[in-house]
Structure formats: C-alpha cells, structure tokens
Amino acid sequence: MSTPAAVMTTPSYEDAFARYEPVIGLETHVELGTASKMFCGCATAFGAPPNSQVCPVCLGLPGALPVVNEAAIRFAVMIGLALNCQIASWCRFARKNYFYPDMPKNFQISQYDEPLCTDGWLAVEVDGEVHRVGITRVHLEEDTGKSLHVGGATGRIHGATHSLVDYNRAGIPLVEIVTEPDVRTPEVARAYVEELRELCRALAVSDVRMEQGSLRCDANVSLRLRVGPGEAEKPFGIRSETKNLNSLRSVERAIRSEIVRQAGRLDAGERIIQETRHFDEASGRTSSGRSKEEATDYRYFPEPDLTPLALSREYVEAVRASLTELPSQRRARLIAEHGFSDRDLVDMRNAGVLDLVEQTIAAGAPAPAARKWWLNELPRRAAGAGVTPAELAIRPVQVARVIELIAGGSLTDALARKVIDGVLAGEGGPDEVVAARGLAVVTDDSALSAAVDAAIAAAPELVDKFRAGKLNAVGPLVGAVMKAMKGKADAATVRALLLERLGAA
C-alpha cells in the first residue's frame, strides 16, 4: 500500500510544523541504581564479564521464584512522588508473556492495569515558557538480558551466524515512566527527558547514563492539522513509536524526522501506519520496525509468584519526607538566593558544577565569583586532566579562599591561577601555596616605585612616544614592570603609577 517515492515530496521541517501540530507522548525506561536486582540478590554493576552476575532466579531456571527488592520499590515511589503522582495503596505485578531468547522466563514481570504510581506531572521550561507534561503512570518491571549477534556485518540479527546472550542485565529493576500525549514540540520533548534525567540524578535513584542505556526513551508521535482560531481541534492522528532513543539530541532529532516523514505521507494522501520505528543516528531518519497492527498479545495476568504490594500511608510519607530537593525547587532557590539567571543555571548544570558552586558559596565566596571560576578556569583544568570538575584535587572551600584572596587584593587573577596550579599539584592549600611559591601581590610601594622608575629609564623612546600623545605606549611599560615584578603586582596599580610618573594623571 505504498506510493512510489517519486510522488511523495518531503516538506521542510518548518513547513511541516507550520501546517501540522505534532502530538507527542514519551515512554522512558530508567534502570534503577539498586545494589541488587529486582527479584534476586545478584549484583547490578555495569560492564561485568558476561553472565557473571546471574543466579537461578534471574536465569529463570525451573523452580526459581522472585522476591521483590524493597530498595527498588522505594526508588520507584521516590520517582513517583517527585513526579507529583498518586502512590497506589495496593497494586500488583503482572506477567507480560512473549518469547525472546534474552528473556529468561519468556515472560517479563511488569505491571499492567495496577501500576504503582499514577496521575502526576513534570514542569519543564523551554525559552522561558513553562510546559506541564502530564504523567500517566510510573511502574516497575525487570530488564531483559542482552543479545549479541555474531558473524553478520552489522551486528544485527539479520545475517548473523549465531547469537550470544548476556543475562547480567536480566532482572535489573526498571521504572517505566509514561507521559500523557501532552508534548507539542521536539524541544519540549527533549527538555522533558533532560528534566527527568536531572530529577533521577538528584534523587540518586539511577546513574541515568543514556549512552549506557540506563535511561532509554521511546517517542510516540502523531500529527494533526492545525486549525484556525475558533475552529474545533482535530482528533489525534495515528502514531508511530520510535524506540530506544539514547541521547537527548536523538530524542529531538528523531521526533523532528518523524514530523517531516509523517507530514510527507499525509500531504501525499497516505495513511500513517501504527508501528514501531528505529532511529538511525547516522542518517538522522527513522525506519520501520515491526507493525503494531500484527502485534503480540502479551496475555497479561497477575503474577502469582508475588503477593500484592500494599504500601502503607506511613511508608509513603516516610519516603516523601526523605526526598532531597528536586531540580526545579533547587533552581528556584538558586535564582532567589544568589541572583543567578536561567542561562547561568543551564551553563553550570551542563558543566556539572552546580554542587561545586553551591559549596563554594557556602564556604563564603560571592556567587558571581564562584560561578566565574567554576565555569571557566576550573572546567578547563578538568578537561585538560581528563576528569570531571568534581574530581579535581581542589575543594570548593579552597576555591572560596582563592576568591577571598583576590577580593582582598592579595592575588591577581593571574596569580590566582598559579595558586590553583599549586593546589592541584598537591602543594597544599591556597595559603600554603602562596607562601611557598611567594605569589602574593607586592603592595610594597618602594619596590614597585623602583620597578616603575627603572622601566621608564630603560625605555626613553616609549616615554617620548607617550609624551607625543601615543597613549598606548604605556602598555609595553606596564608589561616591563610586571615582568620585573615577576607578575606579583596588580596590573591596574602599575598602570596608574606609570601614568602618574609620566605626568598624565
């Protein structure tokens, strides 16, 4: 039922977006960072040798039975509460039945019509505008193993001579977070995933590394014609589901690509097929997977090996009381307390220095200075050393001391960088480095006066130029004085002294 490609013209994204309204819903899987698996005691470390973290339970051996990991329940409740959800006072696990070699029992223990958390929302901000994304449900399930297809050119199952399965991942707890079809732009979709990632990171329930698959996102996209003012909204169109988007950029690109593709089909009078699609990073396009119209019947039924989960009000309230500050609350507080801008917060978050800046401020540094050092000089050092800023061998309290020395006039920015060198080299705290390396700004007038006089005496031609009106001739003189002082002078002070001596001040 497909039309020859020649007939179908692909609109530009802008054109497609102008005529069609995208309706986007997101399903996100977050691998929980519990020490042990969802239903057994096996470890969950990433990158362990294949099949080294398995037991009869997670291998689905005959006779083995699941036992729920309390930590996974607690983490899921934390996520649910942070997403403003209702937490079910009674819910059950269900079996989702389908055959696949990396699924040990050939059913997945999941939740079906009785999820743990329902009816929440997450506010995300894009370009100053707040979008409230409805959360339909948050439920718990177990991850599958990983198949490795060997012998084919592509690593895909097609063309492979055989397949290997690693069950280390089988049974790792996952939460699935499903939104309402509330999202209307690819940018908001991306911002939602980013906000969700920050939220899980702040709750310390997952390492949320998209590239390692500990956060995976599926995007449901459909289009409907935009309507003029006063016209009734069109019903939702048929959606496609693009699976396993593994970066924020992919989320946005895949949705844009789907919008363009679906607009092209609709323009040509084609219908959209309800199907699963895969996003190819290289081409930036999605391609068809299996059709949902011939989808498996999962034959869900309540998991008889587990008793229903009945969380008491007290338990839920205790978890609520234990919640740390959420990213949105924190941003509001940082803006109110320290006068940061949204841009500052985005920059600091992207640089991974928000905690460090806060700690530096707490150690007494003014907010702008803390932001400046952690956003420029220190990330550069970290990048040079191949570590994160937090892994640098300088503590926020030491950075605060450096900032204090600058503010007090004892250090220039240039000297401060040398002090940081010393601290990073393990020479001690800022004061010890200043003392040991003799880095304090020389405020002794006589030494500075002598250096200024010497510089003027040594460069009569510059003095002549200056006196002839070429005021920028003072530059090289400042340089000469700074060199003579081995940098231990404040350039602004030197310049003022020179101008005074040359009779310009």
Binding site: L61, P62, G63, R95, N97, F99, P101, F107, F301
Partner: protein
C-alpha cells in the same frame, strides 16, 4: 553394628528413626534395605526415575558417624525418602517427567530438599510423575507409567504416582509429593496411604518446578498419620525465597497426630461431594468412617458448599493459564532439550521445534488451553470468571468453617482404575479431582487418610481444615486411623498383596 530386622522396609518412618536412634539399626542399613527393595520391585512398579544409591549411602554414613559421635539427631534422621521429580536436588537430575528436561542437573536445592537434608532424611532418588504434574494417573510421564502396588494393572494415582507407589511398595517409608488439584491426596487414596496438601504458603515452593503457581503445594506421603506429621513438620515453615510463603508458626501437627480424640469436634460432611458418580464401595467406606467418628464423640453436621460444583471448570482455566506462562521458559535456550539447532534455524524455530518434540500431549493441551484463556478478549470471560469462582469457593469454605472444625468427603469418587482406562478421555480423568480441587482453589489444607478397602482396593477419606489449622487434619486423621486399624488392621501391612 547390630543385625537389622528382617523386614526393615516394613517399619514406619517413626519406627525406623527410633531404631536408628536406639542403635538397633544404622542409617546405612535402613538405606541399603530400601535400595535392595527398590532393586527387587521397581522394575515392576517403576516408582523411581532416578535412584541415587551412592548419594543416599554417603548421606546415611554421615548420619551414622554423627550419631556415633554423640550428636543428637532429628526425629526422622536416617529415614529413606522418595522425592517427586518436580523438586530440584543437587547431584540428581530433575526431569518433571518430561522429555524437555531430560538430563538436566539443577545447580541448586529446592528449599524442601534442603530441609529434608537438614533433617537428615536420606533421599533415595527421584519419583516418577505425570509430566509437569499434569495428570491423575502417572500415565503422562514421558518415561512410562508407574503401577499401583495393590494391582500392577492399575494406576497409582497422579501426578505424584511415583511417590505413592514407592511408599505403598515398601521402597521407602516416606515420600514427598506435590498437590495442585489433588496430586498428593488422590495417589495416597488409591495406594492406601496418608497424604497431605498443607495450607498454601505453609511449605516453600522455591525449587518446586511450577505447574500452577497459585495452587501448587508440596507435602508428605506416608503409611501413617504420625509419619506424615513428622515429615510435614520437617519441610514446613516460612522461606524468604518464596514470596507466597507465609510467616506464621508451623501448626503443631506432630502433637495433633498423637491426640487421638475427636470428642466435641464438629465435623461437616460436604453435601456436594457425595452421591451420584461415587462408587458404592467408596461411599460405603466413607459413611462408615463418618459413623465411626460420630461414635467417638464428634458432632456430625451436613454442610452445603454450593460453589464446589464450579470448582472443576474454574480449576481447568486457572491451572492451564498459569502453566502456559510457567512452561514458557522451556525454550532450549539455557537448559534441557534442544531440537532443530542445525546452524540454519533461528531461535524462534528452535524453540518451536523443541517444544513440539519435548512436551507430551497433555502438557500441550493445557498450554494451549491456558494461552487461549489468557488471550486478549477472552481473559475476562475465562480467567477472570474463574478467579471469581475461586473467591466464591473460598467464601463457601469460610462460611462452613464458622459452623464446623473440619470438612470431610471421599478423596476420590472411585478406587484405582486400570491403566489405560481413561487415558483417551481427558474429561473422565479430570473428574477424578472433583473432591480435591476445592481445597487447592481456597488454599486450605487437606488430608487423605485410608478408610478401608472396596473390592480389595484402598479408599481414601478426605479431611479439610481452615488455613494454617493443618493440625486439625492430623487430629481427626490420627483418630480415625487408630480406630480403623483397631477394627480391621492396617490396610497396607495386613492387606496389601506381596510383590
């Protein structure tokens, strides 16, 4: 070392353990006697799928050594036992009576197995069974049927037919069976034994290869109520590895078995479990037993449990539904049989061909039935309705137990039928479980205790009690056993034909 009594194998478990404790018999002698008996009769009976003579003798020698060192041993130390092949035990294969698991050695012990070992019970080997516990005759074993020691042309019951036959043929004084719809009680009834399905959640299911998770329960088979109680106490109790295991004290079954009185107890006769379809001999032995209990001072009350009439259809939706999912893991990927892996076939084809070749017709029938019952669009009409019936049956029990202490009925409508008689008629076979299924659906404990013979074949008397009141089964069963033995002698010891 003392001379072992000539008929060691005819001792009860309690007698065997007492003889070992007194130094009159060693565990090795008791084990060797059982192994010799197996060697002598099991070609005819076929109770065992696997005999671990070396493992059993090694375990027995260890027990003797510890007794010699002065260690105080448990009440069943040194007693040989047949373990149904649906429970995992390290060092022995677990097949579940299926081709699909042929040669599979589990890497772990079931909790029941571990508790048997901890109680110093000697595991002789693995007992035959209907494939994946699906059946009432042990004819569905992929490894051939087991025969009833009372009449080798008849079935020993099922699915725990290897377990019941082993005990009835004096190959072991004790056996472990599992009961999903009557699979301990019906074999016990037709082999003249005591068999108990404990309260659901009373015995761990960890390592019990699941047929129907919400119904399966392991329990004892023995020649006497006391032996069954000792074994029950050894395997029961909470297990953190099984979420459905309940954290309550083990009911005082051993004490109850010794109480031997029913004065003032209210015993309810279930109206729906008698009458048409029940063999006259079965009904007669049942009525006599009720009369006997009445003479011993029990108050006999007729009780109606109207929803029991729907128990069989509900069971045949719930059990197949769960089994269709439980048996999905037998896919040739990680263990067991693999068929069709010719280097060309994909995983799906290998799975399909393995399951085609590895499962027998009854297993396939139930997997297909269950798959259908769970399908979208049919779930509410079948699985959903069956769960509602299950609730109603539980309410019938709850209402009955407000009026009476225990409920009683025949265990099976008939005595053991000839091998092959019902093999081609699944419905006739399913009707065997009419009386036993309600207890599984409600999770309550139930016992079958011998009630005498009908035309030379054993008849079982079923007792059902409220959840976690398993001790009442033993009190009533023990009393009835003592009274009947006093009148007619012990059926097995005195009436069973020699093999």
């Amino acid at each position: 070392m003392t001379d072992a009594p000539a008929d060691v194998v005819r001792l009860t478990a309690a007698e065997t353990a007492a003889a070992i404790a007194a130094g009159e018999l060693s565990a090795v002698e008791a084990t060797q006697a059982a192994l010799d008996r197996v060697a002598k009769v099991d070609d005819a009976v076929h109770a065992f799928l696997h005999v671990d003579a070396e493992g059993a003798l090694t375990a027995a020698a260890g027990i003797d050594a510890r007794r010699a060192a002065g260690e105080q041993l448990g009440p069943l130390a040194g007693v040989p036992l047949a373990l149904k092949d649906v429970l995992t035990a390290k060092g022995m294969p677990t097949t579940c009576g299926s081709r699909i698991l042929q040669g599979w050695y589990p890497p772990y012990d079931a909790t029941v197995t571990a508790r048997l070992r901890a109680a110093d019970i000697v595991i002789l080997g693995k007992a035959n069974m209907d494939e994946f516990a699906m059946g009432s005759s042990t004819e569905n074993s992929a490894y051939g049927p087991t025969r009833n020691p009372w009449d080798l042309a008849r079935i020993p019951g099922g699915s725990s037919g290897g377990s019941s036959a082993a005990v009835a043929a004096f190959e072991a004084p004790l056996a472990i069976g599992t009961d999903t719809g009557g699979s301990i009680r019906q074999p016990a009834a037709v082999c003249g034994l005591v068999g108990v399905k404990p309260t659901y959640g009373g015995v761990s299911r960890y390592g019990l290869v699941a047929f129907s998770s919400s119904l399966d329960q392991a329990g004892p088979l023995a020649r006497t109520v006391t032996d069954a109680a000792l074994l029950h106490a050894a395997i029961a109790g909470h297990d953190p590895m099984d979420s459905t295991s309940v954290e309550v004290p083990i009911p005082p079954v051993v004490e109850a078995a010794a109480r031997l009185e029913v004065l003032g107890m209210r015993i309810g006769v279930v109206r729906e479990l008698s009458g048409e379809g029940y063999e006259p001999g079965v009904q007669a032995r049942f009525d006599e037993a009720v009369e006997l209990l009445s003479q011993l001072g029990a108050e006999i009350v007729e009780v109606s449990c109207p929803h029991f009439d729907y128990a069989l259809p509900a069971y045949y939706l719930i059990a197949p539904s769960e089994c269709s999912s439980n048996l999905a893991r037998f896919d040739a990927m990680r263990f067991g049989l693999r068929v069709g892996d010719n280097g060309e076939a994909g995983a799906e084809e290998v799975m399909s061909r393995t399951r085609e070749a590895g499962f027998g017709p009854e297993v396939k029938r139930r997997v297909i039935l269950g798959t259908y019952a769970l399908s979208s669009g049919y779930y509410d009409a079948y699985y959903g309705q069956a769960q509602k019936v299950r609730t109603l049956i539980s309410r019938d029990f709850a209402a009955a137990f407000e009026r009476v202490d225990v409920l009683v009925s025949p265990t099976t409508p008939t005595v053991a039928f000839p091998i092959g008689a019902k093999a081609d008629d699944p419905i006739a076979m399913y009707l065997n479980d009419l009386c036993t299924i309600p207890a599984n659906l409600a999770g309550v404990p139930a016992m079958s205790v011998p009630a005498g013979l009908s035309e030379g074949l054993p008849v079982g008397f079923q007792i059902m009690a409220p959840a976690f009141a398993d001790d009442r089964l033993y009190q009533v069963g023990g009393t009835l056993e003592a009274a009947l033995d006093a009148r007619r002698g012990h059926p097995l010891l005195d009436a069973a034909p020699a093999l």
